[in-house]
């Protein structure tokens, strides 16, 4: 698989996590591809950091709902609200996040570990981004699902213990990569599904912590 195929493969698997009516927050990059792969009959309520509960598609210039000065997303791009959605101020909107009213958040990671710790907001000494809403989302969403390529330039991203500053501790429920699906359990990471292109040994070699294998290991496809 090339890069874009890998991303599509991961997004497609992520889409299977969702059921009709789920309230979800999608991080930048790969997670925004998830809605393309939703099974028929599954509609999501997209929660956006900027204060949209029930976001619509990103409008283009010329569309009736194109309002680049008044309705934007967390990247500054023109956004829209669904016909049955609403707007909220930041305090209320993050109250919804921390209060457990968001069913799932999907986001990428720089590092994730076997305890479910997540690091995805800063590499000390490199450019300064800021955590934005990521810490609240990982802490408050009912499910936190990391979706990412299993390794970065061949180097592992899944460790016994994250080395980078954490976004949130013990927050990740599931890790979905092009190689496998890992569930965070009390005993460590449990592989429940594998991409048949890889062997269990391949996964273990690409992961810098022990990987438990479920008795009923399934195919990702």
């Amino acid at each position: 698989m090339d890069k874009s195929e890998i991303k599509g493969f991961i997004a497609k698997r992520c889409a299977k996590e969702l059921k009709n009516g789920d309230v979800v927050n999608l991080g930048i990059g790969l997670p925004t591809m998830i809605p393309r792969y939703l099974p028929e009959g599954v509609e999501l309520v997209i929660h956006a950091e900027l204060g949209i509960v029930g976001a619509g598609a990103n409008p283009k210039e010329g569309d009736a709902n194109y309002m680049p000065y008044h309705v934007t997303d967390a990247g500054g791009a023109p956004a829209s609200v669904a016909f049955d959605g609403s707007f909220a101020d930041s305090a209320s909107n993050f109250g919804l996040i921390r209060g457990g009213h968001v069913d799932a958040c999907f986001l990428g990671a720089l590092e994730v570990d076997m305890e479910g710790n997540l690091a995805n907001w800063i590499i000390p000494g490199k450019k300064m981004p800021g955590m934005g809403g990521a810490m609240d989302l990982c802490t408050g969403a009912k499910k936190c699902i990391v979706c990412m390529e299993h390794t970065a330039k061949g180097n592992p991203k899944i460790f016994e213990k994250c080395r980078l500053p954490l976004t949130a501790a013990r927050c990740v429920n599931k890790i979905i990569t092009e190689m496998c699906v890992l569930e965070v359990t009390d005993k460590g990471l449990m592989m429940t599904e594998i991409n048949p292109e890889f062997t269990v040994e391949d996964v273990k070699a690409a992961t810098a912590c022990p990987v438990l294998v479920a008795d009923d290991l399934k195919s990702m496809i």
């Binding site: 707007f87 450019k127 408050g140």
Partner: protein, 230 residues
């Protein structure tokens, strides 16, 4: 309710002293008092502490050069930033690395709630966000508490000398209404500063915004500035 004075953006900027702590509503400058900010830039005053979600954008939606408070950063008029995300304005990181700008980062929900706490007369906020992260080292974190078996950080209220609101409609009594995603931090900031100036696209007669639809009550607003219609 008494009518609130409608002043120019330049008059508003003149009320803000050198070195002031300024809350700026807006998320990447959507819902930001951009006309007042332009006048602050022109005033040349500096030493400001800016409290905002982010430091806006170097380029506006239609290619405008500078969009919101990014220009204050660019002009070295800011000494300290309290924000949640500054990745869209690389100058913040560059000036911080060079030792010319202090930067304090807080989670977005925490910043909103610390401001809300100040405006609501609360002594702090207990939030699970940031436990076991660098937020614990923030000067705004006053400690950790365990409540019913779960850890929370105690975060300090945040107050400012001035709050600049970016609204869509403001009536003559100062009642504000925000379009779309303009509301963001504006509603909490309106309650947490000594001087509150609402910039608006449209100054409207009282009654045009139905009382049920007022987002910021007029009692919070001291002055109104008519900004650019978009």
């Amino acid at each position: 309710m008494a009518k609130k004075p409608v002043i120019t953006a330049k008059e508003a900027a003149a009320m803000i002293p050198e070195g002031a702590t300024i809350m700026c509503g807006g998320f990447l400058a959507c819902g930001q008092a951009r006309a007042i900010v332009k006048e602050l830039v022109a005033s040349g005053k500096g030493g400001f502490t800016l409290i905002a979600n982010d430091m806006a954008r170097a380029v506006g939606p239609m290619g405008e050069e500078f969009y919101g408070i990014a220009e204050l950063i660019h002009n070295n008029q800011v000494k300290r930033v309290i924000a949640t995300h500054v990745g869209m304005t690389p100058e913040v990181g560059e000036k911080h690395t060079a030792g010319d700008l202090e930067v304090f980062l807080l989670p977005q929900g925490t910043l909103a709630e610390c401001i809300r706490a100040d405006g609501a007369g609360l002594g702090g906020v207990l939030t699970p966000t940031g436990v076991d992260t660098l937020v614990e080292d923030s000067p705004f974190c006053l400690g950790k508490q365990n409540i019913n078996g779960k850890d929370y950080l105690l975060m300090a209220p945040i107050h400012a000398d001035v709050a600049l609101l970016g609204t869509y409609k403001c009536d003559e009594s100062g009642n504000c209404w925000y379009k779309g995603t303009m509301r963001n931090f504006n509603t909490v900031m309106a309650t947490a500063a000594d001087l509150v100036i609402a910039e608006t696209e449209y100054v409207v007669p009282v009654g045009e915004i139905e009382p049920e639809n007022v987002h910021t009550p007029g009692i919070c607003v001291d002055y109104i500035v008519e900004g650019e219609k978009k």
